[in-house]
């Protein structure tokens, strides 16, 4: 299963999105979007409301079918693959509205994350095989560590839906992290969070980067993006208008006019 030599050339980027296009009726929601996500980096996709960020996201994970274009993940074309297959390959996403599992406790929620890594099936769990039990204990320990990491350890037996919004969002991120993603895709993780919660999220994202996990993040919150991103892709009206480091983007005239400028006007 080792990577083919010609593949490893392509694997320079964890994810490469090429000429992605999608129209809804007459509206071009996504127009010729091309960008890469480099290993060990946090790539952020920003843009004003309705710019088509989440659409790009859903096109990448095949929740929507694309009209044109190609998505390569670790050198493999994702065309036609189901959500389960994509997750199995290590591309794990979260959702814009926190989708924790109701009816399960915080720790159970996190443990669902490592489902794809479980070696033991229901059959060996039914037989109480000691290897299955010890795997279960390992998962539990890892999940506890994860909750510790985001400060939710005291709430491990609380039902997930009873946690405040910010905690639910963090829970969703660590749940995704439990799946040991080869690429973590976060859809507006800061939406609905207050300032302190956003700070916690930012430090979690930095911690994820130090683990070497590449992240693609769709975000609205500018300060968060400028804080944690290595690369920024700016989208407006479904098309990419700029790419670069946060510093480059902050200095980019087109971006300031199309996006930041407008917001500054609104703010002042």
């Amino acid at each position: 299963m080792s990577a083919q030599p010609e593949m490893s050339v392509a694997v320079n980027a964890v994810l490469s999105v090429n000429n992605l296009s999608k129209s809804f009726g007459g509206l071009r929601a996504t127009n010729d979007v091309t960008f890469d996500v480099a290993p060990h980096q946090v790539t952020a996709m920003i843009g004003p409301n309705g710019a088509g960020k989440t659409t790009v996201f859903n096109l990448i994970t095949n929740l929507l079918s694309k009209d044109r274009g190609q998505v390569l993940f670790l050198g493999r074309d994702l065309a036609g693959l189901s959500a389960v297959k994509i997750a199995d390959m290590g591309l794990i996403r979260t959702f814009q509205s926190a989708r924790v599992f109701p009816g399960m406790t915080a720790i159970e929620n996190v443990m669902v994350g490592c489902h794809r890594l479980a070696l033991h099936s229901g059959a060996s769990q039914t037989l109480w095989l000691s290897s299955a039990r010890s795997e279960e204990r390992r998962m539990l320990r890892r999940a506890e560590e994860m909750l510790e990491l985001v400060g939710l350890a005291p709430f491990k037996d609380t039902h997930a839906t009873e946690l405040p919004m910010g905690a639910q969002k963090l829970l969703e991120v660590v749940r995704a992290l439990m799946a040991q993603p080869k690429l973590l895709c976060l859809d507006e993780p800061a939406a609905g969070l207050n300032d302190t919660e956003t700070q916690e999220l930012a430090s979690l994202l930095r911690a994820i980067r130090t683990l070497g996990i590449p992240v693609l993040i769709v975000e609205h919150n500018m300060s968060l993006v400028m804080n944690v991103a290595d690369q920024v892709v700016v989208i407006d009206s479904g098309a990419i208008i700029a790419k670069g480091t946060p510093a480059e983007i902050q200095g980019n005239k087109q971006v300031i006019e199309a996006y930041l400028g407008r917001e500054n006007h609104a703010a002042s």
Binding site: V84, R99, M104, M111, T126, A179
Partner: protein, 637 residues
């Protein structure tokens, strides 16, 4: 040709009744997004009251019939206000459907208590003499039935399309949240739709009564036929309901006349399953009706009480010890048999809990697999002298094969369509059990099934059987606990609460749902076989749709997604009637009423209540500080 026309007229009469009941389904569905299975129950209650007033008390029919309808609507509104309306806010639509199944059972039980189990015949409204058109003879009641149907359809259409009230009802159908913001009293509208549905069901009941024989469980037949008709025609559409009803009436009458009455239900059910595969939303697509998705998911949460492990282990040890000793204390064979039955049903219930409680898949046809297992192993051990354990395995094998075929349909369906498909499956098995005389012995049952035995050792007494069942239950329980408390169980729960999020984490939803289904099929089949071996006899009603509904009631009463809850539900509903014989006639009523009450007031079931009490009692003991604190505070108080 003449015969054909005569049959068609019969079909139209039956079909009109189905159409009216289907209309009731459609109405409630359109306003609330939920399915109301109690429809047929109200039809039969109206007919029975009509009989009492008109025949037993000798009131003139023109007084008796409207009074019967009025009384029924009154009962319906009261039941609706106290059960259906509050339930809509608290329960998912799948659970509302089961709640209404509980109301249906309750009505059935009530009818049984008041009118007994004998059949009644109602005189036609305008004399016995049929109208004669040349060679055709049409009973006058046919005009009453078809006329009443026409009036109901026209009145309902006028109400919905032409009045302000109708606009309000439709607004509730489209978006209850927005409707209530616009000043529409949604609970009132819900109750109104329930009352209207009761009214048309009652009209259907009294007008059709003279053409059929009335019995306490005729209502279930009305419900099922109406539901099937509504589903075939398109549940969200009024014209669909009418078309579906007439179509179903014609098909069943023609099938009865030209093929066999034993298989007429089977044919209509096969049509239903075909429609569910080919076009799940029915013949007539309605523009409304995305309802069930908008309301369903958010309420599918369940907070399950769990004993802390420091209590769980001693409790388990105590329970096992007690279970082992019971046969030495309880010598009454009746009660011991009740325990054996409860233990056998508990096997099915554990499987049903995996399927319903954990994976969130509704099944209203679980007893169908008990039937397949029971009849297969019964037939084999009578006719081929197969060893019981081999016969059981054969039964499981046949059940799994049937389950796989069924899953082709069910895996594509959710919510009410899933409930419908499983119900149809159960009924299909019912009618096969009655119809395949050579294999099943037909309605009178399969007799002469030997007792369960292993390697020549017979377990013929209730006491011996008790230990066999206890051992099986323990093995199954321990095994399932292992799986459900590990990644397998978490995956199922994740699927239950959010399929898309589960899939995004790499959980193969199809595979897990199938696994849960197969587990439930295996256990149901095993229980069916044990049932047959225990009674040495198996008849269709022992493992029929009534049993399926009872199983759901037991699970809900005991507590869903607790695995152990089923034991509580099964013991309660099996042992109480055994211990208090005079109460036996109330069993059906009690199981329906308890189901409804559990849904509304005991969301975690009996097991949940017991666990909470245990936790509360144990708290002072585990923490001495809390104990003294509690004592001082008690003294202060």
């Amino acid at each position: 040709m003449l015969e054909f026309l005569q049959i068609c007229i019969g079909g139209l009469v039956v079909g009109s009744t189905y159409a009216v009941i289907a209309l009731g389904f459609s109405l409630v569905y359109r306003v609330t997004g939920a399915i109301n299975l109690s429809q047929g129950g109200f039809a039969i209650i109206a007919a029975m009251i009509g009989y009492t007033l008109g025949v037993a008390w000798g009131w003139p029919l023109w007084v008796a019939i409207p009074s019967a309808v009025a009384v029924t609507v009154g009962i319906g509104m009261a039941l609706g206000a106290f059960t259906f309306v509050p339930a809509l806010d608290r329960l998912s639509n799948a659970n509302v459907l089961m709640l209404t199944a509980g109301i249906l059972t309750m009505i059935e039980g009530f009818t049984l208590v008041v009118w007994g189990s004998q059949p009644y015949a109602m005189p036609p409204f305008s004399g016995e003499a049929p109208l004669v058109f040349g060679p055709l003879r049409v009973p006058t009641q046919a005009f009453w039935v078809i006329g009443a149907t026409g009036v109901c359809i026209a009145a309902l259409w006028l109400l919905i399309a032409k009045t302000k009230l109708g606009t309000g009802l439709r607004a509730c159908a489209e978006n209850p949240g927005a409707a209530s913001l616009m000043g529409i009293d949604v609970p009132r509208m819900t109750l109104l739709s329930f009352g209207l549905a009761t009214l048309i069901a009652a009209i259907a009941g009294v007008t059709v009564a003279p053409t059929t024989s009335l019995q306490f469980d005729t209502g279930r037949l009305f419900t099922i036929s109406g539901f099937v008709a509504a589903a075939i025609g398109g549940i969200a559409s009024f014209p669909g309901a009418v078309i579906g009803g007439l179509f179903l009436g014609l098909v069943t009458q023609l099938a009865t006349a030209y093929i066999s009455s034993l298989f007429s239900t089977a044919i209509s059910l096969l049509i239903l399953l075909a429609v569910l595969i080919w076009r799940p939303s029915g013949f007539v697509q309605a523009r409304v009706g995305k309802r069930q998705d908008t309301r369903d998911e958010a309420k599918a949460t369940g907070h399950v009480a769990r004993l802390p492990s420091n209590l769980a282990w001693p409790a388990a040890a105590l329970a096992v010890a007690a279970a082992l000793l019971i046969p030495f204390v309880v010598t009454d064979n009746g009660i011991l048999s009740g325990l054996v039955i409860a233990g056998i049903l508990f096997m099915t219930l554990m499987g049903l809990d995996v399927l319903m409680g954990y994976a969130g898949q509704v099944s209203l046809g679980q007893a169908g697999f008990m039937a397949i297992g029971g009849y297969t192993s019964g037939y084999l051990s009578i006719n081929t002298e197969t060893a019981p354990w081999l016969a059981i395995l054969a039964g499981i094998f046949v059940s799994l094969a049937c389950g796989l075929v069924l899953s082709v349909v069910t895996l594509r369906l959710r919510g009410l369509y899933l409930a419908l498909a499983t119900l149809a499956f159960g009924l299909l098995v019912d009618s096969c059990a009655v119809g395949f005389l050579d294999i099943t012995g037909g309605p009178s049952g399969l007799v002469g099934i030997p007792a369960f035995s292993v390697a020549g050792i017979e377990f013929a007494t209730p006491r011996a059987m008790y230990y066999v069942v206890l051992a099986l239950d323990l093995v199954i329980f321990i095994g399932l606990t292992g799986a459900l408390r590990s990644s397998f169980g978490r995956a199922l729960k994740a699927i239950r609460s959010d399929q898309m999020a589960a899939a995004a984490l790499g959980i193969n939803t199809v595979r897990y749902k199938l696994a849960a289904f197969m587990i439930s099929v295996t256990l149901a089949s095993l229980a069916g076989s044990m049932y047959a071996f225990f009674f040495n006899f198996l008849s269709p009603e022992m493992v029929g749709t009534g049993r399926s509904l009872e199983l759901v009631a037991m699970l809900i009463i005991g507590g869903e997604s607790t695995l152990l809850g089923g034991l509580f539900g099964a013991s309660l509903l099996t042992l109480l009637p055994t211990m208090f014989q005079p109460l036996a006639i109330y069993k059906t009523f009690a199981s329906g009423a308890l189901l409804v009450a559990s849904f509304l007031y005991l969301p975690q079931g009996l097991y949940g209540a017991v666990v909470q009490i245990a936790i509360r009692l144990s708290r002072p003991k585990t923490n001495t500080e809390a104990k003294t604190a509690a004592k001082t505070s008690a003294r202060v108080l």
